[in-house]
Amino acid sequence: MDYLGEFELLVMLAVLRLGSNAYGMMIRREIEDVAERSASLGAVYTTLERLEDKGFLSSAVGEATEERGGRAKKYFKVTASGAGAVKRSVKSTDAMKAGLGPAWGGAR
């Protein structure tokens, strides 16, 4: 069973949040805006490729627009096994967090 690394989890969550508009640039910005963590496009793409190889993401080539210099977008979608991996990661993080005090985001 493959597990998700920290950055992999962020990318997966960004893809889930963006829905049908999940492509490289938007994923990068989503991570920067929501997670407040800087991410280069290179890091995002290498992670997307890795997740795709693991079968957690599927991709489809989209339309080419003028502002992209006529280059096509590549949209990503979370697969069923990807969704399962996200749930497992979030669950294990929550479980580890639960024993901690409120200062660390725990319940106590």
């Binding site: 492509y23 490289g24 640039m25 990068r28 910005r29 280069s40 496009l41 290179g42 890091a43 793409y45 290498t46 997307l48 490729e49 080539v61 339309e63 080419a64 627009t65 003028e66 502002e67 992209r68 210099g69 280059r71 096509a72 977008k73 590549k74």
Partner: protein, 200 residues
């Protein structure tokens, strides 16, 4: 120039076949193809500000020589002199002037006009950086370059200006190439270390 005249002017030059895409983009920011009638309707529904943004955005796609010609011709035109421009450049110039006039209550200010014309520079990403991107594997190269270009042109350049945008672009390129090249370098170094051990 009245709004009706202005739209007629845009329609006139947009309908030239080589410039059709301008009309299409006017009506559809997502670049989907529409008929001229739909474009016209969409343009009528746009606010002045949206129309100005459209012209400015489209001016970015002009070849740099054409943008330069327009810039040079602008002062002469403001002085009421005749200018020698091709139809497409003239269309852009008229559109920019008209929007400018409308915004500043029919009192064209040459300074303001120059500012507007500055946007006609094509926001090309740094050539060397684009060349370096060819080190990235073919699988995602085009998509990655496309994403970089889109962010550079639509978000970074308008927000931070040309100089910082170019620095940002180069930084992204270095990082992107680094991410792809580093595993390969590591593998080569690993092989070299193994070879060294075996060779002893």
């Amino acid at each position: 120039m009245k709004r009706e005249e202005l739209l007629a002017e845009i329609q006139r030059y947009c309908q030239r076949d080589h410039n059709e895409r301008v009309a299409l983009f006017a009506a559809s920011p997502d670049g989907s193809r529409l008929t001229w009638e739909s474009c016209e309707m969409a343009m009528w529904n746009k606010t002045n500000e949206e129309l100005i943004n459209f012209i400015r955005r489209e001016a970015h796609h002009l070849p740099s020589e054409q943008a330069e010609k327009i810039r040079q011709a602008a002062p002469a035109l403001l002085r009421g002199e005749k200018v020698d421009l091709d139809a497409m450049s003239m269309g852009f110039l008229l559109a920019l002037m008209s929007f400018q006039r409308e915004v500043i209550d029919d009192q064209p200010d040459p300074k303001e006009f120059t500012v507007a014309l500055k946007t006609t520079e094509t926001p090309r990403s740094p050539r060397v950086a684009r060349f370096v991107l060819f080190l990235i594997p073919k699988k995602n190269r085009e998509h990655l370059i496309g994403d970089l270009e889109e962010e550079y042109r639509t978000l970074i350049m308008p927000e931070y200006g040309r100089r910082w945008a170019r620095i940002w672009y180069r930084g992204q390129v270095i990082q992107a190439v680094g991410f792809y090249v580093w595993p390969f370098v590591k593998r080569v170094l690993g092989m070299a270390a193994i070879w060294k051990v075996i060779g002893r």
